[in-house]
């Protein structure tokens, strides 16, 4: 019995590691924040589902990046099917809900548009996911060796943790800025195409109209001359 307890730490770790670290062996543990960008064709609707535990917080932020009108219908439903958020023809939105156990469904609806497909960006931020999320950070139990200077280590670790959380926030803001910039760039590029196209059309119309005017007037006088003689 005593012998078993004294098995060295790394051996015990190695015994337990494989099921967790082998990729794909036991499913994957997804991260708490995820963002996706996808294309929604005209006349279609797409729904996504997010399982949530009790008393966690679900924040969803979406933006329409491309597509005529830059708007979309959005709705968020609780696990029982009750509609919590219903927005029509908005170009961006952010919603936070405190959750109960179950799968939350949110849908983007482009059925009102017959020809233009939309590019939609959405970001899910999950908080207070509970025990499971906490344990995800316990990877530090897997490290080898010890650190000297235990007393000072606490302070250093604290400041490092705060740096990490601030960098995460910076990363987050960058994602948002990227979405805004993508949308503005798409607007500009469509402006550019529009200016080119309508200038050409304008030129054609002017030339054709002036030619028609002149020939119509001339034809009026030619008829009169024939009738006179």
């Amino acid at each position: 019995m005593g012998v078993r307890i004294w098995l060295p730490f790394p051996v015990l770790l190695l015994a337990a590691l494989p099921p967790v670290l082998l990729p794909g062996a036991a499913g994957f543990t997804p991260s708490l924040d995820s963002d996706f960008t996808f294309t929604l064709p005209a006349g279609q609707k797409e729904c996504f589902y997010q399982p949530m535990p009790l008393k966690a917080s679900l924040e969803i932020e979406y933006q329409v990046l491309d597509g005529a009108g830059l708007d979309i219908d959005f709705h968020l439903a609780s696990p029982e099917g009750k509609i919590l958020v219903f927005e029509q023809r908005k170009s961006d939105g952010v919603h936070t809900v405190e959750t109960e156990v179950g799968d939350y469904m949110f849908c983007f609806d482009n059925t009102f548009s017959t020809i233009s497909e939309k590019v939609i960006f959405f970001e899910l931020i999950l908080d207070n996911m509970g025990e499971q999320a906490q344990e995800q950070e316990d990877w530090k139990k897997y490290i080898t060796g010890t650190d000297m200077l235990d007393m000072k280590l606490e302070d250093i670790l604290e400041s490092i943790n705060s740096i990490k959380s601030r960098l995460s926030k910076s990363g987050h803001i960058q994602t948002l800025l990227r979405a805004f910039e993508a949308r503005d760039r798409n607007i500009q590029e469509s402006n550019f195409d529009r200016v080119n196209f309508w200038s050409m059309v304008n030129l054609m119309v002017m030339v054709v109209v002036s030619a028609i005017q002149v020939y119509m007037l001339k034809s009026l006088f030619e008829d009169k001359r024939k009738s006179r003689t």
């Binding site: 337990a16 399982p51 490290i143």
Partner: protein
């Protein structure tokens, strides 16, 4: 195997052992969506260059008799296709019902990740629905830190420092890419502005010239017809 490990671990570190088991059995509790048999779902990732992207997915098939989703779907495959900003195919592979795909970007821009199922077996199930759990990790989120810690034998402090360095590097790459995009954006805006200005001037000049031509042509026409 996990059972033996747990029995040995429990006397030494009770709670963490239980959590290992929990991680093994909990599976994915992330975003999922439904996909039809021939349906293709595409996601766009706008990333800087030399960035690694790891995608994990898990599929579940709808069982019409039991009206529930089966926990796993043997024999069902998903085809994953990744295109780079120049529409060149970077990755095009078939995976099983559960899989992970990885690619590294070599040009900055919009990469398109498309998933569709390759199976026709779903036609046997009248529901024809497949549930896909998907998770895409970009940049430093794609790094597997427990593995790196074990491989390089890092202490906790060193591992944290390594994490911070990776994070800062990713932010810097994103900023460089942002600068390149902003430049492109500015060029398009300036070109549009210029075109609007030149076109307005050209339009005015053409209108004036056309007016002059019309008047002169009609005047000479009327004079020829002896009306003026």
């Amino acid at each position: 195997m996990a059972g033996v490990g747990a029995r040995l671990l429990l006397p030494v570190m009770g709670r963490p052992a239980l959590l290992l088991l929990a991680l093994c059995t909990a599976g994915a509790q992330g975003l999922y969506f439904h996909i039809g048999e021939t349906e293709k779902r595409c996601f766009i990732e706008e990333i800087p260059d030399e960035t690694m992207v790891i995608g994990n997915y898990r599929t579940q098939m709808w069982d019409k008799q039991k009206e529930v989703f089966l926990p796993s779907t043997p024999g069902l495959g998903m085809h994953v296709e990744v295109k780079d900003p120049d529409s060149k195919v970077v990755l095009s592979r078939q995976y099983g019902s559960e899989g992970r795909f990885t690619f590294t970007s070599h040009t900055p821009g919009d990469h398109q990740i498309c998933l569709h199922s390759n199976s026709t077996k779903m036609a046997l199930f009248a529901g024809g629905k497949l549930r896909v759990h998907l998770d895409i990790q970009v940049g430093e989120h794609a790094n597997n830190y427990p593995e790196i810690a074990a491989k390089d034998k890092l202490t906790e402090l060193q591992l944290r420092a390594r994490q911070l360095l990776d994070q800062v590097e990713q932010i810097q790459k994103e900023q460089d890419y942002q600068r390149y995009r902003e430049e492109r954006f500015r060029l398009t805006s300036e070109s549009t502005n210029q075109r609007v200005l030149w076109w307005s001037i050209a339009q005015t000049v053409i209108l004036i010239l056309t007016g002059i031509w019309q008047m002169r042509h009609l005047k000479s026409f009327f004079e020829a017809k002896k009306l003026v």
